[in-house]
Symmetry: C3
């Protein structure tokens, strides 16, 4: 039987792989119907400011966002590469787990040059049964002075 | 029952999380009473030179170091983000495990700009029972030409 | 009993550790006799172009490559540091597992300055029994405009 940490680790690996391969529609399906996705600057969070860079309040909103991205961006000029580390399960029962993890994202352009895009922390809740899905996903970014932050999900 | 690699992985995740959230006092409590914390440049280690950048020979010394940091640094102008990877258990029995792992640390400033701070390798020993704690932690840094290396633990 | 993901994770940790410690001969022994090692630019792969930057078709060719590196490079002026993340087992049975994972590599020079070297994805197949070994290892690099790409395995 898988433990909560194994399930969260595997779900985060899928999350990274789908984003990096530009499978955004498949990435959406990692979220529960009733779920939220937020990007918040670390500074705001420490000061308990409510303002989010992006706040999608359920899976339909996440799907709509992807549709907009597909329509707006004729081609994606960057390739993302996500790294996730220091994954911690803070609380769990048979049905769900609260977790946090560190991440960093690199971007490579079409000339094959790679740069650090941003670092930060994921914090959220994952349903474990009947199926592992994100119920709440907060992306707390350390790097908020980056251009085109909202071009793709982080 | 958790395996040695699971226990080491979880302890390292706590280690990273406490450092990155500036919970330095909680980070201290991950060390056994009789424990050591050292930062060594990779070059010295390869040549078996004894000189360490920092050598704290037990938990009280680690605590003192944190107190000094809290007093000296009025505010922490950088946010750290630790990534740890390639964790290996080299030897273990019921009570303890010897391990090594790769790490990198990013720092973000108050304008939300992020830079690579340093990379290197952790090498040490962890007690598994009665409680997972660091008994010996060596931080072998690849990056030794960085300003303010000693401002915070790595 | 270890699961496929645990075995793949441990084998990749050995892979990174041997490369970073310049134990290239030991690294070779992580490959099965009948195995392949390829480095491919991401761009080529997406377009299904066959050209590889490096293609070694069995372990003897991998060993030969290391011998050439040892002879050609009088001393290695860079230290590598590999990070691997988002490890996924895509298919597995009792004997083998297909996997993919993200990676990034940093290089430090003799003055202790560290730079991002490249990012990308590992994709391959691992034998699980009788012994964990790489049967196929593809290194798909996002960063293909880097000098001296072929100096050492990635």
């Amino acid at each position: 039987m898988s433990t909560a940490i194994d399930t969260v680790t595997a779900l985060l690996a899928d999350y990274c792989a789908h984003l990096d391969a530009d499978r955004l529609e498949t990435w959406c399906e990692l979220f529960a119907g009733e779920s939220s996705y937020r990007i918040v600057p670390r500074e705001n969070r420490v000061q308990s400011l409510p303002a989010a860079i992006l706040h999608l309040a359920n899976r339909n909103m996440i799907r709509d966002r992807i549709t907009v991205l597909r329509t707006a961006a004729v081609y994606n000029i960057h390739v993302d590469r996500h790294m996730v580390s220091a994954i911690r399960v803070l609380a769990s029962d048979a049905r769900s787990a609260k977790y946090e993890a560190n991440f960093c994202v690199y971007q490579s352009d079409q000339e094959g040059r790679t740069k650090l895009f941003c670092t930060g922390m994921y914090e959220g809740e994952v349903s474990l049964a009947p199926q592992p899905l994100f119920v709440r996903q907060e992306v707390i970014v350390d790097t908020f002075s980056i251009p085109a932050l909202l071009a793709v999900p982080i």
